[in-house]
C-alpha cells in the first residue's frame, strides 16, 4: 500500500522537487536571497535558482566547510544565504563552521540539509542524514524545521527566508503526500494537529506524519481515536501542544525518520517528563546504520511503517489502561 493511501492522502512529487520550486519562488520575491551549493544542486534541486538567477547562485564545490563560511560572510553583508547540500555531508563536514560562523555568531543564514532520513534508499548509509536533527539540536540558536508535505515545504522555505536568524530546514528525496491544503496555516514553534482524537496521540515529523495518519486510520478501524500532531518545528518545540496531548489523551507515540537518540522523540519525552508524565513509545531508528536498499524495504526492516506505529500505539494503550 502506498504511503498516505489508508489515510486518503493525495500523492505528490518528491519533496526535493518541491524544495526546488519553493527556493526559486522566494528568490523571485527577495533579491537578497543567495543560494550556495555544495555541488549537489542537481540532487537537492537548488539548481532551479542557478538557471533563473545565475548571479545569486554559487557552486562552492565539494568543500562544505568553505561553503558554510562563505555563506556566513555573505550573511554579514546583508544577504540571506541558503546553504544547501546533503544533510550528511554538510552537517558532518561543516559542524564546526555551522557552530562558530552561524550559530554562535547568530547570523541570518539558512541551512538546508537535503536527503534527510533513510528513504534516500539505494545510495546507502554514507549518504543518509539520520543524525541531522540531533546535530542541529547541539547548535542552540538554530530554528529547526522539518516539512512533512509540499504545502509545509513551501511554508518552511518562505518562513526561513523571513525569519531573522539561523534556520535549519530538512529536505528529503522521497515523495510525501499532501497533508495540508491552501487554507492550512503554520507558525514557527506551533505544531499542527492534523487529526483529532482522544485515546492517544501520535506525534511525527517529516515523512512519518503521513505514516502516522495511515496508522491512525487503521486504529480507527478498531475504534481507537488517535490524535496526530505534525511537529514541523523541532526547535522551538511546542510545549503546550505536547502537554495538552498528554493531559487529554494520556499516551503518546512519537515517530521520526531519524535516530531515536537525540531526535524529535527524545526531545518530546523531556517535555512530557517536565509537564504531564504519561506512557510513551518511540518509533524511529535504533542505534544502527542501515544498508543500501529500496526505501520501502528499509522502512519495513527497521520498523518504521504504519504497522509499527499501530503496534506501538497498542502497546502504549495497554500501559495507559494499566
Amino acid at each position: 500500500m502506498q504511503l498516505g493511501e489508508k489515510a486518503g492522502l493525495k500523492p505528490s512529487k518528491p519533496l526535493r522537487d518541491i524544495f526546488g520550486e519553493a527556493i526559486l519562488e522566494v528568490c523571485k520575491e527577495n533579491s537578497k536571497i543567495v543560494v550556495l551549493d555544495g555541488d549537489l544542486g542537481n540532487s537537492t534541486k537548488a539548481e532551479s535558482v542557478r538557471k533563473a538567477f545565475p548571479e545569486r547562485f554559487f557552486n562552492i564545490g565539494i568543500a562544505e566547510s568553505n561553503l558554510t563560511c562563505i555563506g556566513a560572510g555573505l550573511a554579514a553583508c546583508g544577504f540571506i544565504p541558503f546553504i544547501v547540500s546533503f544533510s550528511s555531508f554538510l552537517l558532518c563536514n561543516a559542524y564546526d563552521q555551522l557552530r562558530l560562523a552561524i550559530a554562535l555568531s547568530n547570523i541570518n543564514a539558512k541551512v538546508v540539509g537535503s536527503h534527510g532520513g533513510i528513504t534516500l534508499g539505494k545510495d546507502g548509509p554514507t549518504q543518509m542524514g539520520i543524525e541531522d536533527l540531533s546535530l542541529m539540536g547541539g547548535l542552540p540558536t538554530f530554528v529547526i524545521l522539518v516539512p512533512s508535505d509540499p504545502v509545509s515545504m513551501h511554508w518552511a522555505v518562505k518562513v526561513a527566508a523571513e525569519h531573522s536568524g539561523p534556520v535549519f530546514l530538512r529536505s528529503s528525496r522521497v515523495a510525501m503526500p499532501y497533508i495540508y491544503n491552501k487554507l492550512s496555516s503554520f507558525e514557527i514553534g506551533k505544531a499542527n494537529t492534523v487529526r483529532k482524537g482522544n485515546d492517544l496521540t501520535i506525534i511525527g515529523c517529516g515523512l512519518m506524519v503521513a505514516m502516522a495518519l495511515d496508522a491512525a486510520a487503521e486504529l480507527a478501524d478498531d475504534g481507537i481515536a488517535a490524535r496526530v500532531i505534525d511537529m514541523h518545528t523541532i526547535r522551538p518545540m511546542d510545549r503546550d501542544i505536547i502537554a495538552k496531548a498528554a493531559e487529554e489523551t494520556g499516551a503518546i507515540v512519537t515517530c521520526e525518520e531519524h535516530l531515536l537518540h537525540g531526535g524529535m522523540g527524545s526531545n518530546i519525552s523531556r517535555v512530557v517528563a517536565e509537564t504531564i508524565p504519561v506512557p510513551m513509545r518511540f518509533v524511529g531508528l535504533a542505534d544502527v546504520y542501515v544498508e543500501s536498499a529500496a526505501p520501502e524495504d528499509l522502512l519495513a526492516k527497521y520498523h518504521m511503517t504504519a504497522a509499527d506505529i499501530v503496534s506501538a500505539a497498542r502497546e502504549v494503550l495497554k500501559v495507559k489502561g494499566g
Partner: protein
C-alpha cells in the same frame, strides 16, 4: 574618534605598536590567561592596517557597508584585536580589562556581534579566509569596492579549510582580498617544522593560484611596501607571508614557545613592561 587614520610617520606607528603590546600584556596578565605571544607577533601587521591608511572604517558606524574588512582568523590573537579596536576608537580602552571576565562581551576568542569592530567569530582555526571570500562575493553583488584583509596563523594553515578557501578564492578570481600570514614558526606544542611539514609555503600558495609576497612582519616600511603591491588588482588573490617572531618585543618570551596560550604573571609582566618601554 572616527576611522581612517593615515599615519605616515614611522616613529608614530612604532609607538602605537609598542602601546598595543603593553595593552596586550596588561589585559592578558589581568585576565590570568590568553595568548600574548601569538598577539605580539602580529602587532606591526595590524598597526599598519588600522593606522597606516589601509583600512577605511567608521568607528561610530561599525557596520558601515563600505568599510574595509579585517578578519582575525587566528582568533587566539583576540587580545591584539581588542587592543587595536580600542585604540582605533571602537570602544573605551577600559573594556580591555574585562577580557575573559563574567558578564563581559570581551570573550577569550572573538565573537561576532558582541564588540563593535569584531567582524567574525574565530578561535576554531581555519575559517577566516572563507568568511573573507563571502565578504568579497557580497561586495560584488552590492557593487561595493572595499578590500578584505584576513590575518592567518601559520599553524592554522594545517587546517584543510584553508586550502578549500585558497582554491575558491583563485577560482572566483578574487583580487580584493589580501591574506597576511603571521609566520612566527611556532604552534601550540612546538616548532612548526617539527610538528607538521608546512613548507614549502610560498610554492603551495602559488600553486593554488595566489600572488605571493614575503615580508618582514615587524618592519613597518617593508609591510607597507608589500601591502601596496598586494592590493593592486591582478585578477587573483594576494598572500603576504610575513616572517615574524612569536612573542616579539619581550626577550624571555621570544625564546620560549611554552608561552603560547599562557599569560605572564605579575613579576614577568613587570620585566616585560620594562623591556617594552625601552624599545
Amino acid at each position: 574618534m572616527a576611522g581612517n587614520p593615515n599615519i605616515r610617520e614611522l616613529k608614530k606607528l612604532k609607538e602605537i605598536a609598542r602601546d598595543l603590546r603593553i595593552d596586550i600584556l596588561d589585559m592578558t596578565t589581568h585576565a590570568g590567561s590568553g595568548h600574548p605571544s601569538s598577539s605580539w607577533s602580529a602587532v606591526e601587521i595590524v598597526t599598519v592596517l588600522y593606522f597606516g591608511g589601509y583600512l577605511r572604517y567608521k568607528t561610530e558606524q561599525p557596520l558601515w557597508p563600505e568599510r574595509d574588512r579585517f578578519i582575525m582568523s587566528k582568533g587566539h590573537a583576540a587580545p591584539l584585536l581588542y587592543a587595536v579596536l580600542a585604540r582605533a576608537g571602537y570602544f573605551n580602552r577600559s573594556e580591555l580589562m574585562r577580557l575573559r571576565q563574567i558578564d563581559s562581551p570581551v570573550q577569550g576568542h572573538p565573537v561576532q556581534g558582541l564588540m563593535p569592530g569584531v567582524e567574525a567569530t574565530t578561535g576554531s582555526l581555519g575559517q577566516g579566509l572563507s568568511l573573507g571570500i563571502g565578504h568579497v562575493l557580497g561586495a560584488r553583488l552590492n557593487n561595493l569596492h572595499y578590500h578584505v584583509y584576513v590575518l592567518l596563523g601559520d599553524g592554522e594553515c594545517e587546517e584543510g579549510q584553508i586550502w578549500e578557501a585558497a582554491m575558491a578564492a583563485s577560482h572566483f578570481k578574487i583580487d580584493t582580498l589580501t591574506a597576511i600570514l603571521d609566520y612566527n614558526k611556532y604552534q601550540e606544542t612546538g616548532p612548526i617544522c617539527r610538528e607538521m611539514a608546512l613548507e614549502p609555503l610560498v610554492e603551495k600558495w602559488k600553486s593554488f593560484g595566489w600572488y605571493v609576497l614575503e615580508a618582514d612582519g615587524h618592519d613597518i616600511t617593508d609591510l607597507r611596501e608589500k601591502i601596496n603591491i598586494a592590493r593592486a588588482p591582478r585578477g587573483r588573490p594576494s598572500m603576504i607571508i610575513a616572517h615574524t617572531v612569536k612573542g616579539k618585543g619581550v626577550s624571555f618570551v621570544e625564546s620560549d614557545y611554552s608561552f603560547h596560550g599562557r599569560a605572564l604573571n605579575q613579576e614577568q609582566a613587570e620585566r616585560a613592561r620594562k623591556e617594552l618601554l625601552c624599545s
